[in-house]
């Protein structure tokens, strides 16, 4: 059974667009190609008929043979020669260059006469003359005075406030003030102020204290202060009981 025919039949049944004659090769050899092939190859190997490069390229690729061999760019006549003549200063065979001839030959720096001869003595002399170098913290005199004045001022002002407050504290101590006040004054004050006399504060009992101690046992003073600063104080809080 011919498998080629089977495939062909199947393609026909499926109405496929593929070429049913796939067995036929799409390329063909020119007529009489193989007739003279052996003779022409032998002739080339033996070099009986020498073929030039242009002829060979023409045989192999007519496209390449057809391209012009002229360069699209060209150098003007005597281009390099004229350039050399113009830049004579750089290409002169003479050792004295034109560029270098402009530069002065004098040394810009000089060593004083006998510098190196007397060098150790001068170093030793300088070292022996020099005492311990004093580096002032503040170079200017007025700045030192300004700092001294500022420090004195701060001390005076803080001292004034400190002692003043101490004096004030002794005179305006609430306990002393209440003790000094007359009964009439106290009655007037109580009448004019809203005072919580119901005693809502937690009474301090032994159990309460123990409970409190237990509650705050592992709490530092700093934490306690920080917490209380975040909560409303007695004055800021209103009575909610």
């Amino acid at each position: 059974m011919n498998t080629g025919n089977n495939i062909q039949d199947e393609l026909n049944e499926l109405n496929s667009g593929l070429n049913p004659n796939s067995n036929n090769t799409p390329y063909s050899v020119p007529e009489g190609y193989f007739d003279g092939l052996a003779a022409s190859v032998l002739a080339k190997v033996k070099g009986e008929a020498p073929v030039s490069a242009s002829e060979e390229i023409a045989q192999l690729s007519p496209l390449l043979a057809g391209i012009s061999r002229k360069l699209p760019y060209s150098v003007p006549d005597n281009f390099f020669q004229s350039n050399i003549e113009n830049s004579e200063a750089f290409t002169s065979e003479n050792e004295e260059s034109l560029v270098l001839s402009f530069i002065s030959k004098e040394m810009p720096y000089k060593v004083p006469t006998g510098y190196f001869a007397n060098f150790p003595e001068t170093v030793v002399e300088k070292l022996s003359d020099r005492g311990t170098k004093v580096v002032p913290m503040v170079k200017r005199k007025w700045m030192r005075l300004a700092i001294a004045a500022t420090v004195t001022g701060i001390m005076a002002i803080s001292g004034f406030f400190y002692f003043n407050n101490r004096g004030a504290n002794t005179t305006t101590d609430p306990v002393t003030a209440v003790k000094k006040a007359s009964t009439e004054e106290l009655n007037d004050f109580i009448k004019s102020t809203v005072v919580n006399v119901t005693g809502n504060n937690v009474p301090v009992t032994a159990k309460n204290t123990t409970e409190t101690k237990k509650l705050f046992n592992d709490v530092s003073d700093k934490e306690l202060d920080a917490f209380l600063s975040q909560m409303p104080t007695d004055n800021e809080d209103i009575d909610i009981n």
């Binding site: 937690v202 509650l215 934490e223 306690l224 209380l228 975040q230 004055n235 209103i238 909610i240």
Partner: protein, 139 residues
């Protein structure tokens, strides 16, 4: 000299940063203790406590910022604290009920008073300790 100055400035700024970080969380332990205290006092169940805790911590955070914001005016501060409590009481109600929502603020005050008492006791103890030292030195 300049190098030393730069090192000092750098060290100073670092210490400031660490202090600022400490300040941010200052009182955190006591806030947690307060929540626990109020939960015990109110007798909250586990599920109630789980819902109540985050709301109450938010309340404490708001209380802190309110206090900082209106520190200059006592009356306004009192008003703001009341507003804050009313707002949070409404949030507590669906979790723990109306009566216990009101009691939250009483127990909060109790806890603060206990903290004040503890601080005063510590101060007194310190003062007593110093006085005893002085008298011991004099003898």
């Amino acid at each position: 000299m300049k190098k030393i100055l730069y090192i000092l400035i750098f060290a100073f700024s670092l210490s400031n940063v660490s202090f600022a970080q400490e300040d941010d969380d200052a009182g955190g332990k006591l806030r947690e203790k307060m929540v626990e205290y109020i939960q015990n006092k109110l007798g909250l169940s586990k599920s109630e406590a789980e819902k109540f805790q985050p709301v109450f911590l938010d309340y404490l955070r708001d209380m802190k910022s309110t206090k900082q914001q209106f520190r200059g005016d006592k009356l306004i501060l009192q008003q703001k604290i009341v507003d804050l409590r009313i707002r949070y009481r409404d949030q507590f109600k669906p979790i723990i009920g109306e009566s216990r929502s009101n009691a939250v603020f009483q127990h909060e005050r109790e806890f603060v008073e206990k903290a004040i008492q503890e601080r005063n006791d510590r101060l007194q103890n310190r003062l007593d300790g110093r006085a005893n030292k002085k008298s011991g030195l004099l003898q």
